[in-house]
Amino acid sequence: MKIMRRKVRLQTLINLLAPFLGLILVLAIFSSMPDVQSRFLRLANLKSVATQSVIVALGALGMTLVIIGGGIDLSAASNIALSSVITAYAVNAGLPPLIAVGLGVLTGGVVGFINGALITRLRLVPFIITMGMMGIARGVAKWIANNQKIDAPLTWVNELMAKSPRPSWLMLAPGVWLMIVFAVAMAVLLRYTVFGRHVFAIGSNEAAARLCGVRTNRAKIIVYTIAGLFCGLSGVMEFSRLTVGDPTVAVGLELDIIAAVVIGGGSLSGGEGSILGSMIGVFIMAFLRNGCTMMGWPNYIQEIIIGVIIVAAVSLDQIRHRRPT
């Protein structure tokens, strides 16, 4: 059965490379456009794309986990807004910035925990619970911010997303480094830990996982809590970038986050997805936006292209999966 073994290996290779192809294609197209050629692949531009990607990327790290586990988190963007408002509120109240950041991240975690707890206790589908939470978190954010922006004094928190970081040897904004570190950590969590494998199992066949003794409810609560914590961190980055706590920020961003995961090979029916794929999904969308802006194409063109990419990426993915029946 050597042939079969080789087939399996070849397939893993294809699965690994497929998302890269999309990214390479996007990069190739824009770097061959005469109008933007000179600027597109420059280090400065790459840095700015990386910085712009941080907020979506952090959200996508958690979303990947949720989607692999067969769930969805529609409250991600509202959670980001709420966490950024809480961070701003805390800084404004004179708390030490580190505490404020901690509170922001924790807020996200609490929202995620509530999502997970409600999904497992009420036995409702994640779509419904997190859709409810989308409204609740957004409303609470506006309430706390008194329906306006919260101004906060400048602190080191605002340097997390600076395009030219203060100790210049850092090269990239601290937020980008955080994103990279957490991406690696999440990839390790998913691939090399018992917990990661259980998440895959739950997404693939929850009943089977439960019968095999996987504590599915506990695992799901942890999944949503981790996703929430990442939204919290993403919210801190949002505050860092804006320097104010804006409760109306990131409306609709959850769909970008979900799109990134899906473009990267995540299956909305669970059991499939990877951190690498999701990160590539994030960058495909970021480079598209960046390239389109450079070309001077209007916003609506970007929206159409991204829409097409989502459908194309997922249908290609299906064809790839259908081949070995």
Partner: protein, 502 residues
């Protein structure tokens, strides 16, 4: 192990009682499983077999009664606890995560780790040894389970149980979707496990198989013990009688019918999923059986005839009308009806009512100005429920809440309500109780007597021999031979299906 426990049976269940609301699922049920025995747990659907097994696994807790494993008290808190105590389940719906690999599935829930990080190397050698022990060294550890055949998946499940050092294995309908060949291999595995001192509870509707593999049996009816003993001392007739509570005078009732003109003819039909081209003729008033191994192309043939799969070449004629290009909705208008082998997946709309399911393929009589009359539809549904003796609270009950046999009768009722002239029945008796089976055979015969033509796909030779007028044997996509049923025997069918030589 002390001498006191060595003599104790592998498992004793005593006085197990379980109620769901007002209905008693189990009442004072006993089951004693000796070490190294294969113990058949028998009963019709709804007799309480699965409830009993769930209690054993730890998925349910009994209201009363106790269990002992090798003499020691056993009170599983959940399936994991059961598994750790040496009780493993091989479920009817395969209990695997399709996206995970063979290795990942086998280790699911019992991963070896240090500090949460997986340790895979030692485990892999052990899994390989286990697969070799089970005569399936060809299964690749890194292949996702969804790429494996049903038989291989089952081996993965059994490997999981063995890796857990299971002392008691519960197999729920393990052969219902296996080919005869895979079934034989499974029986070899079972004998090997027995020799290792593993005790097995074996649930199956295939009584001949049970007789072949089991040492002892326990029969349940309506949640109560009605009989138990050694297999060698019991006759199949006696066991069937225990199961249904009365004598089934004739399992294959026959209403006289004679073949008329050609109702359906396939001329070199080849569908995209069919392994070969098929030519066949079915007459009115005839039951034509299609025998063969799984994968021989029988289901694919029915699907191509009905237009569910694209056809590549050949011709389909229904009562003389050329129908090669027609879609399923047009086929239904021509009087064709298909009963899918996948009852839950595509045969029925499980969450919908009996009324919806039975009338779905023919709304015509209930339409007025584009509106459907629910009243008339329920009346029609009730009539068919009565005809087919479907047990339900009413025509509004969701099909999902019915037993397997009643679900299957509902699926058949749809074809009857549709008044199809040619019925394509794909494994219509799979996984249903004896009484429902007998009722379905009876209906097939009555339909033939009314001049309907029936194509009957089954992997269970005794029912083909008992019900059909003629039987065609498929081998690798080809029809090897068609003969009157009287010209076949169990052995010759098997030989033709397995070798392709009649």
């Amino acid at each position: 192990m002390t001498s006191a426990t060595a003599a104790a049976p592998a498992l004793e269940m005593r006085g197990i009682t379980k109620r769901f609301g007002a209905t008693a699922a189990l009442e004072e049920v006993d089951l004693v499983l000796q070490k190294g025995d294969v113990h058949a747990l028998l009963g019709e659907n709804g007799a309480g077999k699965s409830t009993l097994v769930k209690i054993l696994s730890g998925a349910l807790r009994p209201d009363r009664g106790g269990m002992r494993l090798a003499g020691r008290p056993y009170h599983p808190a959940d399936p994991l606890h059961g598994r750790r105590s040496g009780v493993s389940m091989i479920y009817q719906e395969l209990n695997l995560a399709p996206h995970l690999t063979v290795e990942e599935n086998i280790m699911l829930g019992t991963e070896v780790h240090s500090g949460g990080f997986l340790k895979r190397r030692d485990v892999r050698t052990k899994i390989k040894e286990t697969l070799e022990f089970l005569h399936h060294p060809e299964i690749v550890l890194d292949a996702p389970v969804r790429q494996l055949s049903v038989g291989a998946r089952q081996i993965v499940e059994i490997s999981r149980a063995i890796m857990d050092r299971a002392r008691i294995l519960v197999m729920d309908e393990p052969t219902s979707s296996l080919t005869r060949e895979d079934t034989e291999r499974l029986f070899q595995v079972i004998r090997k496990l027995k020799a290792e001192g593993v005790s097995i509870i074996y649930i199956s509707h295939f009584l001949e198989e049970v007789r072949e593999v089991a040492d002892a049996y326990t029969v349940l009816r309506d949640g109560k013990n009605v009989g138990a003993g050694r297999m060698a001392e019991a006759s199949l007739e006696a066991i069937i009688q225990l199961m249904v509570g009365r004598k089934i005078s004739d399992l294959f009732p026959r209403v006289d019918h004679r073949p008329g003109e050609v109702a359906l003819s396939l001329n070199g039909l080849k569908g995209v999923r069919m392994p070969g081209a098929v030519s066949l003729e079915l007459h009115r008033g005839e039951i034509l059986g299609l025998a063969g191994l799984i994968g021989a192309g029988r289901t694919e043939t029915l699907r191509a005839v009905f237009g569910l799969d694209a056809r590549q070449s050949g011709q389909v004629e229904i009562a003389g009308v050329k129908a090669l290009k027609l879609k399923p909705w047009q086929m239904i208008r021509l009087g064709l009806g298909l009963l899918s082998e996948d009852r839950q997946g595509e045969g029925l709309a499980l969450s919908r009512s009996l009324t919806d399911n039975i009338t779905l393929s023919r709304f015509g009589p209930y339409k007025k100005y584009g509106f459907l009359s629910l009243k008339k539809r329920s009346r029609a549904a009730l009539q068919w429920m009565d005809e087919l003796k479907i047990k339900a609270q009413g025509s509004g009950q969701a099909v999902a809440s019915l037993s397997g046999g009643n679900q299957q009768k509902a699926a058949l009722a749809r074809l009857l309500h549709q008044d199809a002239d040619v019925l394509l029945l794909d494994e219509p008796t799979r996984g249903i109780d004896v009484l429902s089976k007998a009722q379905i055979y009876d209906w097939m015969s009555r339909l033939a007597a009314r001049g309907k033509g029936i194509l009957f796909v089954s992997s269970y030779f005794p029912e083909l021999l008992g019900v059909c007028d003629r039987i065609a044997v498929f081998f690798r996509g080809q029809v090897v031979d068609v003969r009157p049923a009287a010209g076949w025997r169990d052995e010759s069918l098997m030989a033709a299906a397995m070798t392709g030589k009649a």
